[in-house]
């Protein structure tokens, strides 16, 4: 059964090609587009079952498809690598993608670019699976750029509005900054260790580089650059909120559930490298902690429903980075899984709400939708609770509690990071319930014009189930992952309280956040208004609303100088030479064409004159 592995990325890519090449009816497109992902997820389930029944002796299965190329020592292979880490990523990605595709068949119906949409989405899934299953870093990079391309194409999907195109370009260029660092990291790794095969690379790194060596530090930091760009972490997080310009299923699939966690996957995949460079690993933790707080504050001030969710995504990936940074590897992957479920669900719910209000994005113009959209309300509430971490019940609480415990007790953990993670819970609860209270409670402000159909509701129900049930597999999950990503607890445990106490703190903080949200956004709306209209309040509000001024800063630092340079370079002198040649030619052309007057007798006169001149030249020279 394991031989079927190549079909997992193969089917979506083949179907993307089919959809791109042939003009099909909407019905056919929906069938092909969704069934390909369904088939891919079925195959991935089969592969997983056979992997669990008869685990390979080495603990991993490699399928070599063909040799990609062979250039002076660089011999990357088209090879897929299956181990517990890639199995989890593969199953979650295919399954969540399938649900979102199903949702999209109805959400996008009637759109002009229906076939184009599904072709892009299928291509995206294929690239993401290539990224996950890649056996070497070069193939991983191929998938990495592939998902970046699909992200660009889908953000600017409604390309007739220039703002969407701008958002797409921004996402592409900002992640490019990180990708460049990553490519340099690949060059460095190949130059130093002579291979790009991930497993060989890790073995050789352990043999050649002592812990804390500068080569390992550089390589780890460069790879971190790529991860930071793709996963929208500080300081390259500015593209993600704008990426919400794309259709909602795109936001759910690419910019919440799967692609943005590619950075987390990259770091987990190369975690040996980070263990060799403790300072780089600590940088991961600090970036994660800073991002989760900053994005949390920004989420608190947004008006646009999808932007709230975007900042919340940034913040949750910050948690994953924190977990990676402190050495709580399995917690990061566990949070990736639960996050994929509940964040996809939140976006799908948001899609239903926005669609039903005729494209209204502003949460302050919504309200009271609890009765009109009961399914959306209940699933959104479950996902929101999971995001905020309602203890004991929801999946999000299990994964986040695990990370928070890791931030304290794992190798790089400290009380400071623990406190940051805990205050993140407070922020998350606050902005999540602010959103829920404003959208679904209070009085109804606008008319519901369209109710969701079956294809939109069923994925929500399944994801809602997973957002709850996903948490209970924590113990088998950790055991399954232990072979590749063991939990790194501190060598000398200096903890003054246990895991249960940490969970208790988390629960208390969660309740405080929900309580404050209840007071501010349901009971005492006026108080929240006075708070934001006070001098400090409004300044902070504006500052956080603009993502801590990062966009403004980057505009001044990078965008405007580049535009200025481009404008200055436009009228340069060297170009003048070439323009001059062109202008002289044009002048001569105009003169010559003037002689072609169409007058027969002038032509005859010119011939006669020419003859006279020629005879004169012959006679008198």
């Amino acid at each position: 059964m394991l031989q079927l592995l190549w079909l997992v990325p193969g089917i979506p890519i083949a179907s993307a090609l089919t959809l791109a090449l042939f003009r099909l009816s909407q019905r056919t497109v929906a069938w092909i587009g969704t069934c390909s992902i369904a088939a891919s997820s079925l195959v991935s389930l089969l592969v997983t079952i056979s992997f669990l029944n008869t685990p390979p002796a080495s603990g991993a299965y490699t399928q070599v498809l063909w040799r990609w190329f062979d250039v002076s020592g660089l011999r990357p292979e088209m090879a897929l690598y299956l181990d517990p880490l890639s199995i989890i990523m593969m199953v979650v990605v295919t399954f969540v993608s399938f649900l979102i595709h199903l949702y999209a068949t109805e959400f996008m119906s009637g759109d002009d670019g229906y076939g184009r949409f599904f072709a892009y989405m299928n291509l995206f899934v294929g690239c993401m699976l290539t990224l996950i299953l890649a056996d070497n870093l070069l193939l991983l990079y191929l998938g990495w750029e592939g998902v970046g391309l699909c992200s660009y194409l889908l953000i600017g999907f409604w390309y007739r509005d220039p703002a969407n195109g701008r958002a797409g370009r921004k996402a592409f260029i900002v992640t490019r900054a990180g990708d460049t660092a990553m490519v340099i990291g690949l060059f460095l790794l190949f130059h130093e260790l002579g291979t790009l095969n991930i497993q060989d690379l890790m073995h050789r790194a352990v043999q050649h580089w002592p812990v804390g060596s500068s080569a390992a530090l550089t390589a780890a930091l460069l790879l971190l650059g790529g991860a930071v760009g793709k996963s929208a972490q500080l300081p390259l997080q500015t593209w993600l909120p704008d990426a919400m310009a794309g259709p909602t299923p795109v936001s759910a699939l690419i910019h919440a559930a799967t692609m943005v966690t590619a950075g987390v996957y990259l770091i987990a995949r190369t975690h040996v490298l980070y263990s060799l460079a403790p300072r780089a690993q600590f940088a991961v933790a600090v970036i994660g902690a800073a991002t989760l707080l900053m994005a949390g504050f920004s989420a608190l001030t947004q008006h646009d429903l999808k932007r709230v969710l975007a900042y919340s995504t940034i913040s949750q990936i910050g948690y994953m980075f924190l977990a990676l940074g402190v050495g709580a590897w399995p917690a990061a992957i566990f949070h990736f899984m639960t996050h994929a479920f509940f964040k996809a669900l939140l976006f799908l719910g948001a899609g239903i709400v926005i669609e039903s209000l005729n494209g209204e994005h502003d949460i302050f113009r919504m309200g009271g939708l609890r009765k009109e959209l009961p399914v959306a309300f209940w699933t959104f509430l479950i996902a929101g609770c999971s995001l905020a971490g309602l203890p004991l019940i929801t999946a999000g609480a299990f994964s986040k509690g695990w990370i928070i415990w890791g931030a304290y007790s794992a190798t790089n953990g400290s009380a400071g990071l623990w406190a940051v993670a805990l205050s993140g819970v407070f922020l998350t609860a606050l902005y999540t319930f602010r959103m829920i209270f404003l959208v679904f409670f209070g009085q109804q402000n606008s008319q519901v014009t369209r109710k969701p159909g079956q294809a939109m509701i069923i994925p929500c129900l399944i994801l809602a189930f997973l957002s709850i049930a996903g948490g209970y597999i924590k113990t088998p999950f950790a055991r399954f992952l232990d072979a590749v990503l063991p939990w790194n607890s501190a060598a000398t445990p200096s903890v003054s309280f246990g895991e249960n106490a940490s969970e208790g703190f988390t629960a208390v903080v969660f309740l405080l956040g929900v309580g404050l949200a209840y007071m501010l956004f349901l009971r005492q709306r006026k108080f929240a208004a006075t708070l934001t209209s006070s001098a400090i309040g409004s300044a902070l509000h504006r500052f956080w609303f603009a993502d801590w001024g990062m966009d403004w800063l980057y505009d001044r630092l990078f965008v405007l100088p580049v535009i200025w340079l481009a404008k200055a370079g436009k009228g340069d002198r060297i170009d003048g030479i070439y323009t001059g040649v062109g202008q002289v030619n044009e002048l001569v052309w105009r003169g010559m064409s003037r002689t072609q007057s169409g007058r027969l007798r002038w032509y005859a006169a010119a011939i006669a004159a020419g003859t006279v001149v020629l005879i004169g030249v012959v006679l008198f020279s």
Partner: protein, 102 residues
Amino acid sequence: MNGVPMAYGLILAGILFALGLAGLLLRRNLLLILVSIEIMLNGAGVAFVAAGSRWGQPDGQVMFLFILAAAAAEVSVGLALLLTYFHRRQTLDADSMNEMRG
């Protein structure tokens, strides 16, 4: 063989050629332009004949026969074109044929 000196013949040829050229340049009527071309051809023919008689060779007169044949062909084609043009435009003005300028 000592009839007319060659210079006279060449001068006559030059005058005929110049007259034809002037007619070609100054006339606007296509028919008269054709006539002018004939005159120029005859000028050239006179030059050949004069040169032939100067050296006592028949080549000059043979050349003139060729010119005659070429002129006859040219005139027949030219007149045919001219007729067609007249049918189409009801005019023979050479300056009206300036639509393909530039």
